[in-house]
Structures are given as C-alpha cells and as structure tokens.
C-alpha cells in the first residue's frame, strides 16, 4: 500500500511547553489509523499538525517533517494543505445560518467554483458519501445546518469536508458527543470512506478504535509509545505502558 502521510521527527510546542517530542509515523493510504491515549497526551495536537491547524494558535509552533502524498506540507501555503487534508471535530460545527446546501458548497465556493451544475453535483456526491443525502435531499435549501440532529450535523460536517475531495480526513473524536445509533452511522461511514481516502481518527473509545481502524498509535506524554496493527495493540501490545493503558491499569 502506498504511504499517505509520512511523519518524521515531528515536535510541537505551546509557548515553551513541548507537547510532542519527535513523532515518527507512516500512515498507509486507504486505511483508517486510530490515535489513542489519555487526555493531554498530544494526540489532538498531533493530528492538528497534519493539516497545519496547530499553528493557528498564536502561541504554537511545530518542527519536523510531514509529507502528504509526497509533498512537504510545511513547504506549501497552509490553505493548500487544508484543501487536501479535511478535518472533522468532536462537536459538530455547521455554519449555523447557512442552508444545508451552502454548508457543503462553502469550501468549493471559497476555492472559486461558481458553476451551479458543478456545485450541485459536488453537494449531492458529498452528502451521499457522508450517508445523509436521503435524509436531507428534500430540504437542502430550506433548512439550516443547525436545524439537524447532532448525528446529522456531524455527517453534514463530514460532507462539507469531503466536498473539496481531500486525500486525507482527520477526525478528532468525531462520535464522542453522539448517541450509539449516530455513532454506528459514523463508524459505518468511516468504513466506506476509506475506500476513497485515508483517515486518521483520534478517539477515547478503544472499542471504536478496534472497530474502525487497521492501525493504532498509542500516545503518552507527547511520545508515540507504540504504533502497530490494531489487533496487535488490543490483543498483545509490545509495550507495558500500552497494555496498562488499554487494560485500565492507569489513565
């Protein structure tokens, strides 16, 4: 499998505090990779470095190499990186005053797409990929994003991220605020989406990691302690710290 994301010696800081101490990770294309670890271990900081969101915090900086599809993302404009690397957050954040249609079309419009037909096609494709098309197709322009349920809002945000055809989708605890049925829909969606793109998902839910991801990395205090196939991590991890964390002996 080709490599989608190659991370070498990645360090990140908030002010003078070093949050990541030199991470190396190779993420394979068309797979889901889960990032787990206790609160404050650096897992969210790590994925925010993969689309240069980390540096939007004025106190923050990052150092090291992140190659996505062979491109050094710190050698090109950040806006170009975010076009190729979409992100979905813990709390669904649709643009509240925009219609469902405009929420999905927003990224394309920002990139200069004006053709009505192109926008219509992209909105339908994205909503279908996010498995929400059937639920909203009749109210696309009548209802706002904020009028949807939490689970629907999250899938709308996924559709919005997919509209610009990213190579990589970063998901920061995408189902932690959702009920079990909405969570199952997001997990099914991840399974479908990785046929087309690469997913890196941060989750506190280890069962979720084991269900959706082929690879899992365990972070602890800014270090990547262990990175391996998910079944290895959850049945027979190599590092005692990983085992202690996933068996609930600390955390």
């Amino acid at each position: 499998m080709p490599t989608a994301v190659e991370v070498r010696g990645l360090k990140a800081w908030f002010g003078k505090t070093e949050a990541l101490h030199g991470i190396d990770m190779t993420v394979e294309s068309n797979h889901a990779t889960a990032v787990i670890g206790p609160s404050g271990c650096g897992k969210s900081t790590f994925i925010r470095c993969l689309n240069r969101m980390h540096e939007t915090n004025p106190e923050a900086k990052a150092e090291g190499q992140v190659h996505i599809g062979g491109t050094d993302i710190y050698g090109v404009p950040a806006v170009d990186v975010r076009r190729r690397v979409g992100m979905v957050f813990q709390k669904p954040n649709p643009f509240p005053t925009m219609s469902i249609y405009d929420n999905v079309a927003a990224g394309l419009k920002l990139n200069g797409t004006r053709s009505r037909q192109t926008l219509d096609e992209a909105v339908e494709r994205s909503l279908q990929q996010a498995a929400i098309w059937d639920e909203v197709k009749d109210v696309l322009k009548k209802k706002s994003g904020a009028s949807l349920s939490g689970g629907q809002q999250q899938r709308l945000c996924i559709a919005r991220a997919l509209a610009v055809n990213p190579e990589v989708l970063l998901m920061d605890e995408p189902a932690s605020a959702l009920d079990p049925i909405s969570t199952a829909k997001i997990e099914d969606l991840i399974f479908e989406l990785k046929q087309k793109l690469t997913i890196v998902i941060v989750t506190h839910n280890m069962q979720q990691a084991s269900r959706v991801a082929e690879y899992t990395g365990f972070f602890l205090m800014g270090d990547l302690v262990e990175f391996d196939k998910t079944e290895k991590i959850f049945t027979n991890p190599s590092d005692k710290r990983t085992e202690d964390y996933i068996t609930g002996r600390f955390g």
Binding site: P38, F234, T235, N236, E243, I246, G248, R249
Partner: protein
C-alpha cells in the same frame, strides 16, 4: 479510568477456576488411589463428585462470558479470560477421565487381581505432577514451568505406548488376564488424556502471559498407537 472493580472480578474468576481445578485434581488422585488400593468406595466418590465439577464448569463459563460482554476486556485481560474458558473445558474433561478410570477400576475390583505388565502408579505420578505444575504455572503466570509441562508430555506418551505394547502382548499370551489387561490399557489411555489436558492448560498459560500460540508444535508428526 482505572478499572478496579473489573480487576477484582478477574481475581474472582481466577479464584473460581482454581476451586474447580482443585476438584478435578482431587478426582484424578482419588481414582488413581482407588486403583492402587482396589477400593470401591473411593471409585464411588469419584463418580459422586463429578456433577459438582460439571456445575462449576457452567458457573465459570457464565462468569467469564459475562465479563467479556460487560467489560470488553483488552490485551492481557482478554487473553486471561479466553485462557480461563479453555482451561475450564480442559478441567471438566480431566474430571471425565477420572470417572472413566474409576469405572475401569470398579470392573477390575470385581475380578481377582492379576499380575499385569504395566506400572499405572508410576504413570499416574508423572501425570499428576503435570496437572499440578500446569495449575501452578497458571497461579503464578509462570511460563517456564508451563514449558516444562509441555516437555513432560512426551514421557507420558512414551509410557502409554509402552503400556499398549506390553498389555496387547499380555492379552494374546495370557487369555485369563485379557479382561483386566483391557481395563488397565484403558486406564493408561485415560491418564495419557489427562496429561494432554494438562498440556493444553500449560499452552493456555503461555498464551495468556506471553500472547504466544504454542499449540501443535511445528514439525511434530502425529503417531498412531
């Protein structure tokens, strides 16, 4: 996120299966003692105790399945529960083998004693040590001891083959001892099966502690006896 209650329940599961192991081990000891002493009452005790072993098997299984369903264990905890479920089945089979031995001994007691070319007590001593060591390796999570149990199985297999050869010859040359020889042959076979269950338990201990599957040793060819 430490899971204190879950880990207490794992301790409870271990406690319960060790209680069952005690019953299965005692059943084998009693059956072997009944053979040496030709004691019908001891045989009857083995038979009477079997339902308790079966009941314990069901209870341990139910508890283990509840933990799997309710606690979603990971890594060494998951391997522990899987190992317990398998060890539980092996211990129940050990109890069955003890019953088989006791029934054969009851047959033998009904007839006058014969001199047979087999040392059942010597074989039983090896087998009982294997069972004891397998259980000790489980109590202590001692994979070195578990590996020694695997090695000991070869010696019991050899003794069983030797018993088969000698008792077959005896059946042909001394027809009046044939029935007793057949009973002794079955007892040797039952003891060999107990040793196999001890081996399975030792393999499960290695799986639990190391995450390594050492079943069906590579390169070993099955031999028919």
């Amino acid at each position: 996120m430490t899971r204190t209650r879950f880990h207490q329940e794992l301790d409870e599961l271990k406690h319960r299966i060790l209680a069952m192991a005690g019953m299965a081990e005692q059943a084998v000891d009693l059956a072997v003692q009944a053979y040496s002493q030709r004691d019908m009452a001891m045989c009857q005790r083995v038979l009477n105790n079997e339902p308790a072993i079966n009941r314990a098997e069901r209870e341990v299984d139910e508890f283990a399945v509840d933990l799997l369903a309710m606690q979603q264990p990971m890594a060494i905890d998951l391997r522990f529960i899987l190992a317990v479920i398998k060890i539980n089945a092996d211990l129940e089979r050990v109890g069955d083998q003890a019953v088989n031995i006791a029934q054969r001994v009851m047959n033998m007691i009904e007839q006058s004693p014969k001199e047979l070319p087999v040392d059942i007590p010597a074989m039983a001593t090896k087998v009982r040590k294997m069972v004891r060591d397998a259980l000790q390796s489980f109590i202590e999570g001692d994979t070195d001891l578990a590996r020694r149990v695997l090695e000991a199985d070869d010696e019991v297999d050899r003794m069983n083959k030797e018993a088969f050869a000698n008792l077959s010859r005896c059946m042909q040359t001394k027809p009046d001892s044939a029935v007793q020889a057949l009973d002794a042959l079955s007892i040797a076979r039952n003891l060999e099966r107990v040793a196999d269950h001890a081996t399975n338990i030792a393999e499960d201990v290695i799986f639990w502690v190391r995450g390594a599957d050492v079943r069906h040793r590579a390169g070993q060819t099955a031999t028919r006896i």
